[in-house]
């Protein structure tokens, strides 16, 4: 591997430290991605139906993301019934962006592996 590849690899190792471990599980990255796309907000039941997670699993992931300040929960009236909706915060957007950049740098390294 040439020096430039070494540098890229070093960058990947270094930038990994910037990502918060607790946000970097497949379920949490997926929740953040969904909320980033659906700026309208997503209902709890829609998340559950899409991710196919148990209530316990989904609830604990959402709670962790709320505690980290990456998403917000709001109870609204929908057809006169209370309904929980979730939206990503700017802090969550920044964290997701860091994760995406990290994944892109890995992809780049793998693409450049022959260098």
């Amino acid at each position: 591997m040439s020096t430039s590849c070494d540098e890229e690899l070093q960058n990947i190792i270094e930038s990994r430290k910037k990502i918060i471990n607790a946000a970097f599980t497949s379920s949490r990255v997926l929740i953040l991605t969904l909320l980033q796309h659906f700026k309208i907000g997503i209902q709890y039941r829609e998340l559950k139906n899409t991710l196919n997670l148990s209530d316990g699993n989904l609830f604990s992931n959402l709670k962790n993301l709320i505690d980290m300040g990456y998403i917000e929960e709001e109870t609204i009236q929908f057809d006169t019934r209370p309904l929980k909706i979730y939206q990503i915060t700017s802090k969550g957007e920044k964290e997701l962006s860091k994760i995406m950049e990290w994944i892109i740098s890995i992809k780049k390294l793998i693409g450049d592996i022959e260098c």
């Binding site: 796309h37 659906f38 700026k39 997503i42 139906n49």
Partner: protein, 178 residues
Amino acid sequence: MLDDLEKVIAGLKYWNLILDPVNSYENRFLLQKLTFLSQSLGMKLSYNFGLYVAGPYCSQLADDYYKHSNRITSLQTDYRTTKKENEIFMKIKRYVIDRQVNEKRMSFIEGVATIQKLYLDGHATTEEELHYKTKEIKPHLSDYIIIIALNAVKQLNFKSEYLTDELKEEFDLWDRID
């Protein structure tokens, strides 16, 4: 996409709907579904709606209303609607917005938009298929809501040229039944 948003605001004006999409989930939801229905019935808009967890949804439209929220809340537009566009708005008002559904208005609109998208994208063609697919995507919608939403979709897509003499005769017969 300000040109598109101008048309969307013209629709809201027609329906006399003052929405606050930035602060209300229900208003954002309504704006997405009504815009999708307008576009699906022939209004020229360049929004690209996908069928996702929340039914038809377009992120460009979301960007537009976050960027120009004050225009929406004040119904500010200079756009002059065409006769065809007014007919589309009238249909949506008649069969969707003004439809009486006991405390289930949003679910009904969610059902109508989802069924219309499924139908237009060719995911299902018969009533049974549409019902089944809708239930699969939206398990929280009751059978009652899906049935009345299906009827609304039929009414929305009905064109006057479909009204043959034979059909007219049958409708007249039903109208005289009292």
